[in-house]
Symmetry: D2
Subunit: 344 residues, 4 copies
């Protein structure tokens, strides 16, 4: 029996039809490479309409690159980057950040994947001490790797705290759209307006084939990015095919529709799981993922049918992801499977 | 007037329709990410059918990554990598190789972009001397950045020389297909069979949207590649969309047809240019590019209409590229434009 | 008034007279550079007599280099290095380890600066997972940065645990001699015999001017060290002047005498401080340093007279260091100063 | 028979007695570490008296570190550093510059180890092109690795050319003192006054035990140096022992006396060798080294008695070094040995 991988990750989904159509349409004759083409210019213009005309926008292939190259651009190798223990940057980038930036990651334990000023404060030592890595950036993930979301108040406090301490704020926004939907805010309100400096703006997990954007809200700090992007192997030649995806992403608010749908499915999944006494939802469901505790014996059986991640095997917590194309029936099937397993 | 960019690069072309169709077809439901999917397995199987079942094949986004990650996997930071002065590795990768590998590039001047044992020999000093970078790999480009091609005899001699000196051989094969067609050999005959150890196997310049393969002909030296790929930001999540392109690439020998056509167009372009007394072809045309000397005053005028690269402004040598979708009429137009410019 | 810096660090001491004499004596005519000289050969021979003839020994300038170069030699950039939160490697090397190795430091909170298998275990995740840094080495400090010492049983368990998990064990032995004295064991018994793989063997903090040794207990893993040492800017030309120091270090067991004296002074200092009700010794005194809690108002006053480190200003814990040349009277002065401050 | 190593390198010499005395004298009680001590402050003050009070001076262990850390401080990883093919930076630093800076070395062939504007000009391509390494620094060696010296006019032209092209100028001054003596200029006249931006100021080859200084003539570009020094493992704890050497170096112009003597001995050696018909001096003798062609059969015999470097075995060119303690009689012996070999 083939494993059902539907809930394994939001990147298990294919490409949204509108995005695919944009790719096909972009395949129209010759076009200058490396981002000088009209589709790319148009796409960057659209993103500037969202965030302000005075920002800098660059496309890269994937989220790890958006994070690493964005951070490299604003750090020296003797700096440190502060992040939550659960950050993708820390856990799932195979020490790419350390290798490419040289920086130390200062890793802060959290319960819900969210940094707070009071959590960061004890780690802010050694500023000016030549023996110690110099803190330079706080990197947060919005929505987090645990499916939680920073609200406006939390964002404001965090950015304000960071800036007071001469730290920049980077947002790993692989699932920024899901956060915006949950918070009922637009993308600018939860990034630039609260004081974020650098944004990894994700597309792939929200219906795109490949391609993410790095947005610098202050052009001054962005000036070296293009060289690091090339050096970092992330300058795509046929860039129009990334740009076209972003154009479709913003047309008729596809980004919002996809994220809204995915979030809604996660709520539905959560609600259905809540009906099962043995299951416990262990993190707030504020985006498109559900973290559910499932007793080991049931969990094992469920994994024979479904592929999904259990990052801490001891904790028996399943991460179940929804996306723009998750079907309600699939959720029902999953929940019923689990019910049947428990019944036996 | 918009510049005509048709001859600017083979990556100015769009995507071959068969490749695009394969991408669209791959967008079929859920699929596990990061290369565990069936399309990727199938694609790797096809490449192994070409090169031997005991090779290792990995996909990355682009050619610079194929080069850098392939080389990183077989070097330590105290090694040196030997290449021609014209190598993409040296000229157009923004010191990405130095940054990611730590290695020194030993850069050897050539007339035609081709390394030879006698050119390399004087640079093979310091083996075992702890003060000096230790030579580890010879990297050649096939076909070269100047449009020339190593023949079988040259390849055999070079690989044999390298191996005698405990050096591995890497081929930057961004345009390997064009070389194979020119030499009337299959891909294995010009790589594995002559002794090549690592191959960057290009797709993008030959009709693909994005995606290249790294092929190790000895699995033992490949063992760390997957970690370097992830760390190097080159592991794509929705890998099926690269793999599907390679599947189409090998179906009905599309790779060969595209390269054959591009080479043919380059010959046609060369022949037409040869008819103009003022123009001089400065490199052998053995792939899909033509290097043509055009007197400065005509060159300037031509560049007002056409975008193409002139890497050494002093030399007045235009690099004119053909691809799978170059039209004969476009070549005629280009040549006529030049004629008209000269006439005036 | 000049600050008294005597207790600030064991590197505030000068050079032991016997070491200085050896340096002066080594200044005798011409000598081949970079370690091929007789003094160096003799010195390495002496270290091999201590640890076994089948080890590899290399000299570097300082302890940070011994750590970083030793670790670089046995890691790839996608590996992780496990260490205590208090490790010099983590706190006081300005992300040099991350920059030079590319590796992630996996930082484990401890109460006493000592790692234990049960502390490490939860962090051993992701082995073989290409998204995650691959654990490769456990680095411990002996004696620790908090003045505590791993006993033989702890060392045996840790090394055995590490090896079972395919991890190497590195010891930052900047103060190894102090640990050996405390444990009443010879240097081999607390390193090689318990299973340590790589040792940074410190001299500077124990009476030398500059110079540390890196000892590999398995020559196979040492093979690249010499290239990394040169590349890492740590190959000294006039090496005889480091080697001569090590020769003196081992003659008449100077290393042991110095460490024994320093440890004794630390015990004396501890005992004197214990007599002051307001002061609390916060870590076991098992080497040459005393960690003492001093109420903030007294601490501030004391710091007007004495320079010493208080790494966590909130905790009001003074680190007071003894060395081979700490005088009993100086300790009495310090303690009396504190008494007087409290009395007022 | 033991090989005579006297002419093998200027670092085969021991330490000048005045320097050694200063080291011994510095061993006087406690002293704060890492450069905050009075001896260091005094030493830096002396260097500022030579070069101007508005410069920044830092000590490191050795010359390779002075070069690499000085260059790292003023470059980003996408920059290139221009140097002669013979540069120590290129040949004898085991790709340490590439590893630590990430930069590409642009290596320019020269006949005499000296760069000139017209040699550099053809390599200044790609400024602003995101695909290419961005030239940032010209690094020259004064006096050169071939024993030649840039005169004031050459220095002025080179620096002026560099600055016009937005390039900084770095001088590897491992043998700067020898150049100053040859040119009959003081140290400032041949560095700051001609426009040099960063200087690696060597001590070890001119009578010191260890220790070099990095001098930035513009404090603004020096601001990150201290962090890179620590991260680069080059911050010595007992710094007073480097500083004391520099103090002695400047007292009674020891630096000048030593260099003057070494240069004089090189002239004497050259003159004696010139009397042997079979020998040919192949580079101008403008510092403390003599490059002499010796026919292979004689060279081989001579190397049985004397250790010296022959960097290009095919060229049969011996590099013979003089230092502050080279004896006239030793030169006579060497020359006589060669005569006897030839006679037989």
């Amino acid at each position: 029996m083939t494993l059902n991988v539907e809930f394994g990750s939001d990147n298990h989904s294919g490409v949204h039809p509108n995005i695919m159509k944009a790719i096909v349409d972009a395949n129209n004759g010759y076009s200058i490479s490396y981002g000088e083409d009209e589709i790319t210019k148009n796409s960057i213009k659209k993103i500037k309409e969202l965030f302000g005309s005075d920002v800098d926008v660059f496309f890269v292939y994937n989220g790890i690159a958006a994070n690493i190259l964005g951070l490299k651009t604003v750090t020296n190798s003797f700096n440190s980057i502060i992040c939550a223990d659960t950050a993708h940057l820390n856990v799932h980038e195979c020490c790419g950040p350390e290798k490419f930036t040289g920086c130390k990651l200062v890793i802060i334990p959290t319960k819900d994947g969210k940094l707070k000023p009071e959590l960061i404060k004890p780690y802010l030592i050694g500023t000016g001490d030549i023996h110690m890595a110099q803190p330079k950036v706080v990197s947060i993930t919005q929505s987090t790797e645990l499916g939680t979301t920073y609200n406006l108040d939390e964002l404001n406090k965090l950015c304000s705290f960071a800036h007071k301490n001469n730290l920049l704020v980077h947002v790993d926004g692989a699932r920024l759209c899901n956060a915006a939907i949950f918070l009922k805010k637009d993308l600018k309100e939860i990034t630039r307006d609260v004081g974020v400096d650098i944004l990894s703006f994700g597309g792939t997990k929200n219906g795109m084939m490949y391609g993410e954007a790095v947005v610098f809200f202050d052009k001054k700090i962005a000036k070296d990015f293009e060289f690091y992007r090339k050096q970092g192997m992330q300058l795509t030649s046929k860039m129009r095919f990334i740009s076209a995806q972003f154009n479709a992403f913003f047309e008729y608010n596809l980004w919002a529709k996809n994220a809204e749908y995915a979030n809604k499915m996660a709520q539905y999944l959560k609600n259905e799981l809540c009906k099962i006494t043995e299951v416990k939802i262990v993190q707030k469901v504020e985006a498109n993922m559900v973290y559910a505790y499932i007793p080991r014996k049931y969990l094992q059986k469920l994994r024979e049918k479904y592929f999904f991640h259990v990052f801490d095997e001891n904790a028996c917590e399943a991460r179940l992801m929804c996306s723009f194309n998750t079907k309600k029936e699939s959720i029902d099937d999953l929940v019923n499977s689990l019910r049947n397993i428990i019944k036996k």
